[in-house]
């Protein structure tokens, strides 16, 4: 049976993928109904959107738990080979690449808006008549504080909370790297200390982001008053959501460190969480420069 471990492990059949699809279906149907029932764009007299959505969320959490439990068991049972470890690593890298492209769409929208749409609405290029006929009083500026139709909003400066948050995230990447080196050197106490520090920083970051949103709404920076707020809230919001997921991921691997699941040779999940964390960190740096600062 020694040969077995050199072969690629193809798992026996598993119910979790199918359950995961059912979960996504619940999320989609529940989500669309929920949104429609709580906004006034279209008429939807149903009431159950929120319930279905909540069931979907719980369902997905359950599926993920069960699925990963199987994987962890297999990993601890020695079924995973080096080749498989490589598959997981490459898979994770490509997943992060897909996330990069998702944020890319929003960065693209940001630059297109700043460099082209807003100047054009203000009459730049060959658009003097557009300006004259549509909104002659409109003034091109960035951040766009007054929308063409007159809605006003406020701008979020870079050097208050956002700068503090930048420092926090950067520090968290450093603590995480220290933990990583400790993991490779098999110093479990140090891993625990520095990963715990990372998680604390992550939670502080999320708290401050929430505070910043409250602050924004007090200042008058809202999601529905023109393109600046749209971009601000979607970009920081999706980033925040990713930080949230990354934090959960980090907590899970932290618990597994406590249980002693990782060895210097076999710790793919830990590293995947770390990569993900560095990824949200880098996205934040771009956000800080492009959304807050410039």
């Amino acid at each position: 049976m020694a040969e077995k471990t050199t072969q690629y492990y193809v798992p026996e059949s598993s119910p979790w993928p199918l359950m995961g699809s059912i979960g996504l279906l619940l999320l989609a149907v529940g989500g669309a109904n929920f949104i429609q029932q709580h906004t006034d764009k279209v008429q939807n007299d149903g009431k159950l959107g929120g319930v279905i959505l909540a069931i979907g969320v719980l369902w997905m959490i359950g599926v993920m738990f069960m699925w990963w439990r199987d994987t962890v068991k297999e990993s601890l049972g020695g079924l995973h080979s080096h080749q498989m470890d490589r598959s997981y690593r490459q898979g994770m890298i490509w997943f992060i690449f897909s996330e990069v492209m998702f944020f890319g769409a929003f960065f693209g929208a940001l630059f297109y808006t700043r460099w082209l749409i807003v100047p054009w609405l203000g009459g730049a290029g060959s658009n003097a008549m557009t300006h004259e006929l549509l909104w002659p009083n409109f003034q091109a500026m960035w951040p766009l504080l007054v929308a063409p139709d007159g809605r006003t909003t406020a701008a979020m400066g870079a050097w208050g909370l956002p700068a503090i948050n930048t420092a926090i995230l950067l520090t968290s990447s450093i603590t995480l790297t220290i933990a990583h080196h400790a993991l490779l050197a098999n110093q479990r106490g140090k891993v625990i200390a520095f990963q715990a520090a990372t998680i604390v920083l992550a939670v502080i970051f999320l708290g401050l982001q929430a505070l910043e949103y409250v602050h924004a709404y007090h200042m008058g920076l809202t999601i529905d008053a023109g393109i600046y707020g749209s971009l601000f809230f979607l970009m920081t919001g999706f980033h925040g959501a990713h930080v949230f997921l990354g934090t959960i991921f980090m907590i899970v691997t932290f618990l597994r460190v406590l249980k002693g699941h990782y060895t210097p040779e076999n710790h793919f999940a830990w590293e995947a969480a770390a990569w993900y964390w560095h990824f949200v960190d880098v996205v934040w740096l771009f956000l800080f420069v492009a959304v807050y600062w410039l």
Partner: protein, 528 residues
């Protein structure tokens, strides 16, 4: 190379629902896509029935728009893309000597997301046709431009948006699986430059998928927030721009059309050498051509937007870049023809489909070149000429290559030869009808008939009549394929196939018995 320690295949419903086997999942994908192809085809029949005669015939204009929209969406996301993923599932492990896909459970998840996503989309069509009050299905075209899909989109739009998210998740996971399999699971000795072209084209397709599906997800997300949360991405009154939607959509959309054609190139590059009994001409140039097509596909998107108004420099840039793509595409066509040159050709069904592909795809490529010329396109845009172009590349291109693939590998999958008689009927019937269906669209398009209208001016009546006849004929022709498939897959009737099936075909897939056993290459073969 037979495997003697074969595991028992799981049986019953569980085998399919819980599968981690690349062949079973491949079959699920292929059957799913075929069912979607038939459903999408039915919607096209509604379109052609309405257009059989001028004047309003059977449906109202709004329902007509729902038909063009859902026909396009189902064919692109439900028929063509999953068909190629199914092919990838079945063939890539066999071609590179791997025991399975690298991430088998994720593989099954990618598949089972699709029926869920399409349950949403198809149910909105069914509700619109038969439900109480006939709530509208998506009616804004498969390109779902804002503001048609934001300000004016029906309630089903939100369900559509979330189903697009699901399709995106499915495609991205499928693509990650392909890349990891190809990079990590090749048998010893199977170097990158020894891989069959189908594997190469899929590797590059997978890269395109991971790069652009998230962008589509971003676009539909902005649509959702514009619709419900007051954002202004696609609303000029808030400082956004509906044209921004088009840019994001086509940044996804153009690579998407290559996602639908690159695997087809791989299929044809596998089939032509077998029946020309010559190695593929210019293997390395094929690889580089595929790579450059993929890279260029990121910088041509605005050729779909020439009529929208863009700075001159932008128009010129996108025109030249688009024309540049025809160079690597031309290299491919040249290589296929050169492979056939002085080969000892025979014309079994896969070869017939492949040759039809080369010729008809080239027609589509040439009309594409005409559309790439900005001043000309401003005339042709949104006319039936565009419809003719993309149906030549997609139907007689992508889908014909799928047919070629099915006839080529069906004996390997099922262990029996396809029914030659009904196969021939399917081929000739499809070949003639597809041209009757799409060729006259060039003429009506150039003469000014706009696309996506439920009615047309009287001078287009004769052509449209024949186009509709071609459409019905093409639709019925696919029932012959259905019969061929049922006979081979379920009735298992037909000549027993050998492991090689064809005469000295190239590739590891022909070294395993037909039908391919449940597990293959548990111990990797050594490739010299």
């Amino acid at each position: 190379m037979a495997d003697h320690h074969e595991h028992h295949a799981p049986t019953g419903l569980k085998r399919w629902l819980f599968s981690t086997n690349h062949k079973d999942i491949g079959s699920l994908y292929l059957w799913f896509s075929f069912i979607m192809f038939l459903i999408g085809g039915l919607l096209a029949m509604v379109i052609r029935t309405e257009l059989l005669y001028p004047g309003m015939q059977v449906v109202d204009p709004d329902f007509f728009n729902q038909m063009t929209t859902t026909h396009g969406l189902i064919m692109v996301f439900g028929a063509v893309m999953p068909a190629f993923v199914g092919l990838a599932n079945w063939m890539i492990p066999l071609m590179i000597g791997a025991p399975d896909m690298a991430l088998p459970r994720m593989n099954n998840w990618s598949f089972w997301i699709l029926p869920a996503a399409f349950a949403i989309l198809v149910s909105s069509v069914l509700m619109s046709a038969f439900g109480p009050g006939h709530p509208q299905a998506p009616n804004f075209g498969w390109t779902f431009y804002a503001p048609l899909s934001t300000t004016y989109g029906p309630a089903s739009t939100d369900f559509f948006i979330l189903s697009v998210h699901m399709m995106g998740i499915s495609s991205i996971m499928g693509a990650i699986n392909v890349i990891v399999t190809v990079l990590n699971m090749r048998a010893p000795g199977m170097t990158m430059m020894k891989m069959p072209l189908f594997v190469w084209t899929w590797l590059i397709t997978a890269f395109l998928l991971i790069a652009v599906m998230p962008v589509l997800a971003g676009a539909v997300t902005m649509m959702l927030t514009d619709r419900h949360f007051g954002t202004s991405f696609f609303n000029a009154a808030g400082g956004g721009d509906p044209v921004l939607f088009q840019h994001i959509f086509w940044f996804f959309g153009h690579p998407e059309v290559y996602i639908m054609i690159l695997p087809a190139f791989g299929v044809v590059s596998a089939i032509i050498p077998t029946f020309a009994r010559k190695p593929l001409f210019g293997y390395a140039s094929m690889v580089y051509a595929t790579g450059s097509i993929a890279l260029l596909s990121f910088v041509v998107w605005a050729h779909h937007m020439f009529a929208v108004g863009m700075p001159l420099a932008g128009m010129l840039f996108f025109m030249y870049m688009t024309m540049l793509i025809s160079v690597p595409t031309g290299v491919k066509v040249f290589n296929w023809v050169a492979t056939m040159w002085r080969g000892s050709l025979t014309f079994e069904l896969p070869m017939k489909w492949a040759i039809a592909f080369v010729i008809l795809f080239t027609i589509g490529g040439l009309s594409g070149l005409m559309l790439a010329i900005t001043p000309a396109d401003i005339q042709y845009h949104d006319s039936y000429f565009v419809v003719a172009h993309f149906h030549y590349v997609l139907v007689s291109g992508a889908i014909f290559s799928m047919f070629a693939a099915v006839y080529y590998w069906l004996p390997k999958w099922t262990g029996v030869m396809y029914d030659k008689f009904w196969g021939e009927v399917h081929f000739w019937s499809s070949l003639l009808s597809v041209n009757l269906l799409f060729f006259p669209m060039h003429f009506v398009g150039l003469a000014g008939m706009p696309r996506r209208y439920a009615d047309y001016a009287l001078q287009f009546a004769d052509y449209n009549f024949w186009i509709s006849i071609g459409g019905f004929w093409f639709g019925i022709s696919q029932l012959f394929l259905l019969w061929v498939l049922i006979k081979a897959c379920f009735l298992k009737k037909g000549e027993k196939a050998t492991a090689e099936v064809w005469e000295n075909p190239e590739g590891l897939e022909w070294t395993v018995p037909s039908p391919a056993p449940f597990h293959t290459f548990d111990t990797p073969p050594v490739v010299k």
